[in-house]
């Protein structure tokens, strides 16, 4: 049994109040803001092309929600684990961890992917959008608003992934039929059974998104 103590002590209150910034500082992640769409994206990938990488940590950049993050991760780390464990972007949930349930859905260059099925290093050079990038302060995305209105969520653990899938689905099917919804959103599973609300929310969000409002 090994025993190594190296933690600075904090009170329970301080711990309960810890912010994402504190965590990132501890994790050694550098963030640069203000990235424009397309700006600098694609830089990291060509550099690495053809190289044998790993198994140790490899430095690369991830472009998430308009910000560039410098990370240093083993090539086997999934995009989901990079987001959740290293960048404290915990909106994408880890549920099945093998590309079945959709709870970790994020957008890679606007295409929905299961973040548990993509290596973080594969995502370098792509524009990554997570649920955190879809709302701004109190301003929710129409899909989120519709989920609230139609109670398309209970425990809420599948919800961020579902919202991402719905957003990507509606971008491609602005006038969805019920059949298209059942097929297009079949890749997201819910245990509480919120599908009735989701079906209504998608139809409603489709209308709202055609109302000329621009969204991420």
């Amino acid at each position: 049994m090994s025993r190594k103590k190296d933690k600075p002590r904090k009170t329970a209150e301080e711990i309960a109040a810890l912010s994402r910034r504190d965590f990132l500082k501890g994790a050694g992640v550098a963030v640069s803001g203000g990235l424009l769409a397309g700006d600098a994206v694609g830089v990291a990938a060509p550099e690495m092309a053809g190289q044998v990488l790993g198994p140790g940590p490899v430095p690369f950049k991830l472009h998430i929600n308009g910000k560039a993050y410098k990370v240093n991760l083993e090539p086997r780390v999934t995009l989901l684990d990079a987001l959740r464990n290293h960048l404290d972007l915990t909106g994408a949930k880890k549920v099945c961890d093998r590309g079945t349930c959709g709870s970790c859905t994020v957008l890679l260059d606007d295409k929905p992917v299961y973040a548990c099925g993509v290596l973080a290093i594969e995502a370098a050079g792509h524009r990554i959008t997570t649920i955190e990038g879809l709302s701004h302060g109190d301003h929710l995305h129409p899909v989120m608003e519709a989920f609230v209105e139609h109670d398309a969520q209970q425990c809420g653990f599948c919800t961020p992934g579902f919202v991402m899938s719905c957003k990507a689905f509606l971008d491609r099917h602005p006038n969805p039929t019920p059949e298209e919804i059942e097929k297009g959103l079949g890749g997201n599973l819910c245990r509480c059974g919120t599908y009735v609300g989701v079906r209504q929310a998608v139809m409603d969000a489709a209308k709202a998104m055609k109302g000329g409002r621009s969204h991420a």
């Binding site: 049994m1 090994s2 025993r3 190594k4 103590k5 190296d6 933690k7 002590r9 329970a12 301080e14 711990i15 309960a16 810890l18 994402r20 501890g26 994790a27 780390v77 684990d81 464990n85 915990t90 949930k93 880890k94 549920v95 099945c96 093998r98 079945t100 349930c101 709870s103 649920i131 879809l134 709302s135 929710l140 995305h141 899909v143 989120m144 989920f147 609230v148 109670d151 969520q153 209970q154 425990c155 809420g156 653990f157 599948c158 919800t159 961020p160 919202v163 059942e182 097929k183 079949g186 599973l189 819910c190 245990r191 509480c192 059974g193 919120t194 599908y195 009735v196 609300g197 079906r199």
Partner: protein, 713 residues
């Protein structure tokens, strides 16, 4: 007679109660900002993993962790169950590792060497004659004169074998949490739980520290369904690893462990005989049931369910298996008992050539005082399902491979309210907070707390801040058995009424009237007799100066705010492809009573959700066990299947409200609607294809087997 002062407002006076209110934590959840236990990241936090036993039944001979300990990045290796321990199911935890990353923790597990002595296992119990000495007679109950009932020459006997396999809980947020020791004697846990106030005491006792030194925080939790009441072994291990490492530790079960270890609904099987008079009156019941909930065996299901058949005998065998541990699963034992009973009765109706609706209607009197409610619900459900148009005698005779059928079922549940304490605070700045150590499993607990307070204070729901999910707040019960809404709404109501009373007493002098002449309504405090004499809520609060008003609320307490005992009727409309065996849900109707409904929107959601969960366990869910190795073959979500958005058909929910229902007070709704789907769908399939598929889940393979067997008969 004076109204009891805490009573819910009368029908005409309700502003929010019974309306369609959006859940107050909807925005934070849909935007991904809600922080679940799994999402808590602390500086310096380690990741823990546990190594499970690969055998269903084995004795640990030796453990060598030396290679794992040498791995860079590994901080603690801890043996959970040492040599000599007998393991009773696959995956049972043997060694835990805490390391700086998840990947290193995984690597460390692969370097641990454990030697086992394999022991004989049993992981299949559906055929009772094959369980050997693992089956033990457990109970026999007799009532009336079943022998005479079955001998009656003018009665008709039907018989069959029915059952439901062991299923898992499959919470989307796995079990576990984050554990941290700010000092040697103080533990903070972000444990995913249905029991925020109850976890600290259980952990403290096991860890040997004062209960007051353990704090559990669970602001959002991703599903429990009865499987998250205790700290569990992982909670203990997480706390121990964190203490040993001197750093916070996150220990969440991976999906395979979640499915193998963190829950399990016991199976129930039964060979059942039913005897009924030719007019459809059920007179006798005989059942030989058996079940397993793992090594401890399984108890007798509450059969015959809902309908108290006058002459009955029930014998039960408990079967000890190595399928895994058992836990309360949403409406414990009711879905299984409901399936066994309603399927057997439906077969009796078919044997009598009776319309099932007429048959159940006739026998509803056996449900005692709730008989009339069931009859009302049967009528409504039949109308909504188009029973008259679509029901037919057993076996859809229309040409083609797709056969359609309808089936129904009835269920019941208790309710009442758990013990709950809360603090209601009115601040001089106008804000109102209700704080209690409760939790919201996704049922809408936060929302009904806010609603109960807002209704009392005459404020909009947004004006109320609800603080739950922290064991530092007043203790409130575990969320189980549909007891939460009753508990928290009545403690909140009582606390709010008392806080308002104290508030009005303080304001009375400035209005120059007695406190009893004042009321809070529509965002104002005003004189009842002259509403033009008023202050806005904020102005009124400003008169408090610097001292807030605070009151405690409790449940149980005075006045009848809650009650118990509900009935529900459900009808399934299915299509079965007799060539592939696939069952498709066309339509599902649920008619449910639950007393006074606080929030219609979240109440309906409970029904929709329960029905979808019910469709899932009826058609897809099963722990598929390998006879040879004793292992679970589907510990993942591609083969432990949940229904998707395209699998559920059209769902219609009808809530019973109004006179006869509202005045009963609040009754929980978590369990009732999840009970009937198995029976309703099984009956609908039998109606469609003309033969009974005996057990759930009704897989294509079982449908084809039943058709083949039925064809030969």
């Amino acid at each position: 007679m004076p109204k009891c002062k805490y009573d819910w407002p009368e029908a005409g006076e309700r502003r929010l109660i019974g309306k369609r209110i959006s859940r107050i934590d909807g925005p934070v959840k849909s935007s991904g900002r809600a922080k679940y236990s799994y999402d808590v990241n602390l500086p310096g936090m380690l990741c823990a993993k546990m190594l499970g036993c690969p055998y269903a039944h084995a004795k640990i001979v030796s453990i060598d962790t030396s290679e794992a300990e040498k791995l860079p990045g590994v901080k603690v290796v801890r043996v959970i169950q040492g040599p000599g321990t007998e393991i009773q199911w696959e995956g049972d935890e043997v060694v835990a590792v805490a390391a700086v990353t998840e990947e290193i923790a995984e690597d460390a597990l692969s370097k641990i060497k454990v030697e086992y002595e394999q022991l004989p296992h049993l992981v299949h119990e559906e055929v009772l004659t094959e369980v050997g000495d693992r089956g033990k007679p457990a109970a026999e109950i007799k009532s009336g004169d079943p022998d005479a009932a079955f001998k009656d020459k003018n009665s008709v006997i039907s018989e069959g074998t029915y059952g439901a396999s062991v299923i898992a809980h499959c919470c989307l947020e796995a079990h576990g949490g984050v554990y941290d020791w700010p000092d040697e004697n103080t533990l903070v846990t972000w444990h995913s739980t249905q029991n925020v106030s109850g976890v600290p005491g259980q952990l403290a006792e096991a860890l040997g520290i004062p209960a007051g030194n353990v704090r559990t925080i669970c602001n959002y939790m991703g599903g429990g369904f009865g499987s998250k009441f205790g700290p569990d072994r992982w909670g203990m291990v997480g706390a121990q690893l964190a203490k040993e490492a001197g750093r916070p530790v996150k220990l969440m079960l991976p999906r395979d462990a979640e499915l193998k270890l963190a829950g399990g609904r016991p199976s129930h099987f039964a060979k059942i005989r039913v005897v009924a008079k030719r007019d459809g009156t059920v007179t006798g019941w005989e059942s030989d049931s058996w079940s397993t909930g793992g090594p401890g065996g399984g108890g007798m299901p509450p059969i015959p369910y809902v309908l108290e058949v006058p002459n009955r005998v029930m014998r039960h065998t408990s079967v000890a298996t190595n399928i895994g541990p058992t836990r309360a699963w949403r409406a414990p034992n009711h879905p299984q008992a409901c399936l066994l009973t309603m399927a057997a009765l439906d077969d009796s109706a078919a044997k009598l050539n009776m319309d099932a609706l007429e048959f159940f209607y006739k026998n509803a009197g056996l449900a005692g005082e709730r008989g009339e409610i069931y009859r009302q619900e049967l009528r409504i459900a039949a109308d909504l399902a188009g029973w008259k148009n679509f029901w037919h005698p057993r076996g859809d005779k229309t040409p083609g491979p797709i056969k359609r059928g309808l089936g129904m079922s009835m269920h019941t549940w208790g309710g009442r309210g758990h013990n709950s304490n809360c603090t209601v605070t009115i601040q001089p700045d106008g804000s109102v907070e209700v704080a209690l150590g409760s939790q919201d499993l996704g049922t809408g607990t936060r929302t009904v707390i806010a609603l109960s307070a807002a209704e009392t204070f005459g404020l909009p729901i947004e004006a109320i801040t609800v603080r739950i999910g922290d064991s530092k707040d007043p203790a409130s019960g575990a969320s189980g058995g549909s007891t939460t809404v009753g508990g928290v709404s009545s403690s909140t109501r009582r606390g709010s009424v008392d806080a308002l009373e104290a508030f009005l007493a303080k304001l009375a002098p400035s209005f120059g009237v007695e406190a009893s002449a004042l009321e809070a309504a529509n965002g104002y405090v005003r004189v009842k007799a002259d509403p033009s004499q008023r202050l806005t809520w904020k102005q009124a609060c400003a008169k408090l100066g610097v001292t807030p008003i605070q009151a405690s609320g409790k449940n149980p307490g005075p006045c009848n705010l809650i009650s118990s005992g509900v009935g529900g009727v459900q009808i399934a409309d299915v299509s079965v492809d007799t060539e592939t065996g696939l069952v498709k849900i066309n339509k599902f109707v649920a008619v449910q009573d639950c007393g006074l409904i606080l929030d219609m929107k979240t109440a309906e959601s409970q029904c929709y959700g329960a029905i979808i969960m019910g469709i899932t366990y009826s058609l897809f869910e099963e722990k598929i066990m390998d006879r040879v190795t004793g292992r679970m073959l589907n510990p993942n979500m591609e083969f432990y299947k949940l229904a998707g958005i395209g699998d559920i058909g059209e769902i219609i929910v009808h809530m019973m409200t109004g006179p006869g229902y509202d005045e009963r007070g609040v009754i929980g709704l978590g369990e009732p609607p999840v009970i009937s789907p198995g029976a309703a769908i099984s009956n609908a399939v039998a109606n469609a294809i003309g033969v009974r598929v005996p057990t759930i889940p009704i897989t294509p393979q079982k449908v084809l087997a039943a058709l083949q067997k039925g064809g030969k008969a």
